[in-house]
């Protein structure tokens, strides 16, 4: 188990109902996609937030990553919808 800081933004934050949390993530969870799948099992609000994987993006330590990115060593992982700034 590793403790990781998770941060949520915009629609993902609203659906989960939390801006951030610290969670112990099992060692079997190796990638961002696996982390999202694992979070979905934590409850309805998580299942709802991650129901459409196509619209959830992730960043590890403030850098954009793909779903297959490894989470080992991450301090801070963020989940959010596609960006709409600019």
């Amino acid at each position: 188990m590793t403790e990781i800081k998770l941060i949520y933004f915009a629609l993902v934050r609203e659906r989960i109902g939390l801006a951030e949390e610290r969670l112990d993530v099992p060692a079997s969870v190796k990638t961002v996609a696996e982390l999202a799948a694992w979070l979905q099992l934590r409850g309805e609000e998580y299942a709802y937030a991650f129901e459409n994987p196509a619209i959830v993006r992730a960043a590890i330590d403030r850098k954009h990553v793909k779903p297959d990115a490894l989470i080992a060593g991450a301090q801070e992982i963020a989940f959010f919808p596609p960006m709409t700034g600019g």
Binding site: F9, A10, A59, F80, P81, P82, M83, T84, G85, G86
Partner: protein, 156 residues
């Protein structure tokens, strides 16, 4: 000479003139200054405001990466990017990109590149506050923006 690079994420409004003047004043060999300002729209009266949420820390870092890529690719004398967060009313400026170069094409291309990348990579999200009082929806990302960004081949 190193280009003058300025980028900021802030709640406060920006002063377009001040930013353009700072770039134009960088020396006698600035031949071209472009500016792009993105404004909050009312969508034909439908919106009261847009609320911009951002990822503090990452927003600055990501803009910094995009800006570095721009000065690597184009011969710029200077470059300014300001992105605001918080509540915006129709007519408020949300984002400002300005570029200075000896060359007109470099100034234009760098500004377009910066806007395309800010749209698709900078961690900002817009929520609508509607005139009819209904609870706001999050603005959806446009496929057009991804297409625009994909014009530029980059590793970032």
């Amino acid at each position: 000479m190193e280009p003058r690079i300025v980028f900021r994420v802030q709640a406060e409004p920006f002063d377009i003139t001040k930013e353009i003047d700072a770039l134009a004043g960088l020396g006698d060999d600035v031949g071209a200054v472009t500016s792009f300002t993105g404004y909050c729209r009312s969508e034909g009266g439908r919106l009261l405001a847009l609320e911009l949420e951002h990822y503090p820390g990452m927003a600055e870092e990501e803009i910094g990466r995009v800006v570095q890529e721009a000065v690597t690719r184009w011969p710029l004398t200077g470059l300014t990017v300001i992105h605001r967060f918080g509540m915006m009313r129709p007519g408020d400026g949300i984002v400002l990109v300005a570029t200075a170069s000896s060359h007109r094409l470099a100034a234009f291309e760098a500004a377009e590149f910066l806007m395309d990348y800010l749209k698709t990579r900078a961690p900002f999200w817009k929520k609508e506050h509607r005139a009819d009082g209904s609870s706001g929806e999050w603005v959806e990302a446009k496929e057009l923006d991804d297409q625009a960004a994909s014009r530029w081949q980059t590793s970032i």
